[in-house]
Symmetry: C2
DNA sequence: GATCGCAAAAGTGCATACAATTAGCAGCGC
DNA sequence: GCGCTGCTAATTGTATGCACTTTTGCGATC
């Protein structure tokens, strides 16, 4: 293969890596993200790191203040609730859409995903959080609507960050059970049931969370980031 | 006043200017946006212009392809419909929220805005389109939820771009009438009626549009942009 | 007259350089 | 001990330079 394509934009790569690091709680709200350290970790110049930070700031995952080091955003409680209400509205659209169009192959893929989720090491917070989020992203992707998928994904990541700030340690079991109910409703093509299952699932996630007070420690950024840098 | 603050981030300034230029149809889908020409127009270097383009691309207003000149996005018909469905879902949330919380002062402000809209020169497409969009942004802002406001704004601009590609020349009168109905429902605190008025208004916008085939001409970018550069 | 090839021009992709701002810290007075 | 002051290191904000890619213009060729 030619040395031509830079994979697909290094900015996007860095954004994905940081998003995953945030959603998996390797990075916590308030963690600092200095441009040159980021650049060093990902093997790019500050120019690129800076663009990535700009994107993430637009997505609400990072806070940017002039002449200040970028930090992982710390959503307020109001923002967290707001995010989830928006998420519920958007994912209801997904459920409505999919209940009418979903194929048996897609159902199978979803069940496979849920099985993976069940098989994940329950001790590994990061894996179960990521899989739970991926389930929703997968659903959104199945609608075949790129814009809907984009917004659902964005808001799902933002929710993950909010949970990271306020949620109690993620509990995987209930998520799996509720994800199953959603797939069941989709399989039957029951629009109302699918939307209801989705809504009550997300509401339950909110109810289960919104408890723990935030914590604060200093850590080594490059060590945190190492596993997220694509080979 | 001190010579310190750069207003508030020049990237954001350029983004706003371009968003307005797009929504007012001074820029049409497919129009080229070369970095150095942009930089020249706004008095910044390519670095800054480039960052702005990155943001706008993330918002779906601009298309970016590697080594190619950035262009104003040309939404497909599917994307346009998708955008509007998302918009309807989000603005229904706005309507629900406001029907319960809106104050008499806010009602007055909305009626004032609608009056301005009625007073706008009907020949001026750009003014009436901008005012119509601003009405929705204003509503979203009144919820006091910054995240909801952000998504509604983004999707409203995207809708505007879609209409620019496919809509027939914007008709102001019906919009004003429908905006009035929304405010009426909000004033009565009737949640269901407000959401219904909002939904049917947006559906009507879609129905009225989605007709005209896109056109294509070459124009002078810096002349187009001149009125959008903040003093 | 149309087509192909190729070199110049235009444009992007990225790193680096430098100015400006902030953060950290030592020293000082109280 | 505590807070203020000024210095230095760290970090961001922006422009510029260079390599590379795409587009364009133009002449040769058929």
């Amino acid at each position: 293969m030619k040395p031509k394509k830079n994979v697909v934009d290094r900015v996007a790569q860095i954004c994905s890596a940081l998003r995953r690091a945030i959603i998996e709680r390797a990075l916590s709200p308030g963690d600092k993200l200095p441009e040159d350290q980021l650049g060093l970790s990902f093997g790019v110049s500050r120019t690129i790191a800076r663009q990535a930070l700009g994107q993430l700031a637009a997505e609400g995952l990072v806070n940017l203040r002039r002449n200040r080091i970028a930090v992982v955003a710390t959503p307020t409680v109001e923002e967290a609730r707001d995010t989830f209400e928006i998420r519920i509205a958007l994912e209801a659209v997904v459920a409505n859409c999919l209940a009418l169009t979903i194929t048996p192959e897609q159902i199978a893929e979803l069940r496979r995903h849920i099985a993976d989720q069940g098989a994940a090491d329950p001790a590994s917070q990061s894996a179960s959080i990521r899989l739970a989020t991926d389930f929703h992203v997968l659903l959104a992707g199945m609608t075949g609507r790129p814009i809907l998928e984009r917004y659902v994904t964005e808001v799902a990541y933002r929710s993950g960050l909010a949970l990271s700030a306020y949620g109690r340690p993620h509990s995987n079991d209930c998520a799996i059970e509720e994800h199953c109910q959603i797939v069941d409703a989709l399989e039957e093509g029951d629009v109302a049931a699918a939307a209801a299952a989705m809504t009550s699932h997300l509401s339950a996630v909110v109810d289960r969370a919104m408890i723990r007070p935030p914590q604060r420690t200093e850590r080594d950024l490059s060590a945190i980031l190492a596993p997220f840098i694509a080979g």
